[in-house]
């Protein structure tokens, strides 16, 4: 707006900048906290040391949780990608009403509060004696990741021109060849984006994991949760720092290789 008074514009910019700072900076607070030499956390640290990093990396239990988280995230991604890509492809071919209803159904896991999903799944896992298994946690996370994959692959699919499929069919290509040579290469950004989103969702997730994980299958966030509530030592900050680094790397991967989205200034 050209006619916005300078004062208002400055006020908006200041408020926005402060809000941005409010968003980003607090997260970084864990990083200095992880360098605390003492066994309680002070911010800023009274004395600096790497002892908690050593503690984290050498601790069998922390490393086990890291591996568990990786395993769960991989399973979650595989499940969500297979089911989600397939569903996104199917949704695109369906009529408007059908796809509207189904889209609502697929988005349901995002609407239901996670705590409710978590205890419902917990109850059912108890019934079939699957609590404490990696598969159980992966299934729980896949439920949350599925809508994300469907959305991301859907975004990519919308950029696919339907006449390409007609052209390919007219040229003699069968359904599978069309999918392999035409559809798949063009939805790859969406698939990659969905995969990364699914992995990160699983890696970050704590509520479902707290209920479904057993001692051997504890994930990183679950151990962090325990440490924060009980011991509150800087090792939790170390774990948090690792999670931030992982998140940032995956975030950059998705922004580079992921689907072109609408968040560009026109």
């Amino acid at each position: 707006m050209n006619s916005t008074p300078l004062l208002v514009r400055v006020a908006i910019n200041c408020l926005a900048a402060i809000t941005l700072g409010f968003l980003v900076l607090p997260i970084l607070a864990v990083i200095p906290a992880s360098f605390n030499a003492a066994s309680f956390i002070t911010l800023p640290p009274a004395s600096v040391s790497l002892r908690w990093y050593r503690s984290f990396l050498l601790d069998g239990e922390w490393m086990m949780t890291l591996i568990n988280s990786a395993a769960v995230a991989s399973l979650t991604t595989a499940i969500a990608l297979l089911l989600g890509t397939s569903a996104a492809l199917g949704l695109q071919q369906l009529g408007e009403r059908a796809s509207f209803v189904l889209k609502g159904a697929f988005l349901a896991p995002l609407v239901v509060p996670v705590i409710v999903t978590a205890i419902a799944l917990y109850r059912s896992m108890i019934d079939i004696a699957m609590t404490g298994t990696i598969w159980a946690i992966a299934i729980g996370h896949a439920i949350l990741a599925l809508p994300l994959v469907i959305i991301m692959v859907g975004v990519s699919l919308r950029a696919v021109d339907p006449t390409w499929h007609l052209a390919a069919a007219g040229l003699g290509a069968g359904r599978w060849m069309i999918f392999r040579t035409i559809t798949l290469p063009n939805i790859l950004p969406g698939i990659i984006g969905g995969a990364v989103f699914a992995a990160m969702t699983s890696f970050d997730e704590v509520v479902i994991a707290v209920f479904l994980a057993g001692y051997e299958t504890k994930t990183l966030p679950v151990k962090m949760w325990e440490v924060i509530r009980i011991e509150f030592t800087p090792v939790a900050a170390v774990a948090a720092t690792f999670m931030i680094l992982l998140a940032m790397s995956l975030f950059l991967v998705v922004r580079t290789v992921g689907p072109r989205d609408v968040e560009r200034p026109s």
Binding site: V24, T42, L89, P113
Partner: protein, 277 residues
Amino acid sequence: MRAKSLEAVLLVTPALLFLVIWFVMPLARLFSLAFVGDATTPAPFGELIASEVYRHVFLRTLGIAALVTIVTLLLSYPLSVFLSRLRGVRFFLALYGVLLPLWISVLVRTFSWMLLLERNGPINKALAFVGLTDHPLPLLFNDTGVLIGMVHVMVPYAVIPLYAAITRIDRRLLLASDGLGASPLFTFRKVYLPLSMPGIVAAAVFVFLLSLGFFVTPALLGGSNAMTAPMLIAGFISDRLAWSLAAAASLILLASVLALLWFVSRLVALPQGTLVR
């Protein structure tokens, strides 16, 4: 054409089946417990509604959610306006600043706030240093801490639909209003604000719903002083294995969420794609 529909159905079925087996059925199983009751709690709904404590928890959950929504919107609106006017590198930096927090676990973010809001934490120290306070403010283990932490989590969720709606506003309408002699305030009130309303509504609904169901942040930042419904539900299970109470409470919580969604959908048509991110 019929073959096409069959193929579409086959493609959609695995995901649908997965959700039915692992999502819908467990939910149904859980909710059934609310109506059956068990040895200790024959009438879970009755108990929940009768108890003043539980009623209080539900009301406070709604209250916190409402407060969080309002504060979040107040912060997110200027940020979205700001974002919509940026170009080039600055746009991407600001955008990443908004989106990156979404990628970081709520647990990590909440933990950060725990460190910051402590009695002897940096915020209190800074306030004392600047001279605004003469004794540390209790920012943790109460509603204030929960509010701060939740707003922090919610702002990115609000900015996304707000930004989408604001960038859709045709700039020429603003120029036209200006050209017709309207003051900036008038243009804002009569043109800009109404046109951004779909985004505001979408953001408000989104944030409110998320806030109702939030567990980690209130649990860590509020503790038992600021009990919310999700914490109550978790407590029923982990503390006492009171399944029917937990089921009933879950049903009430979910019902509130669905009621809100239905209510909003009656009033306003959400613009296409606001939730698709």
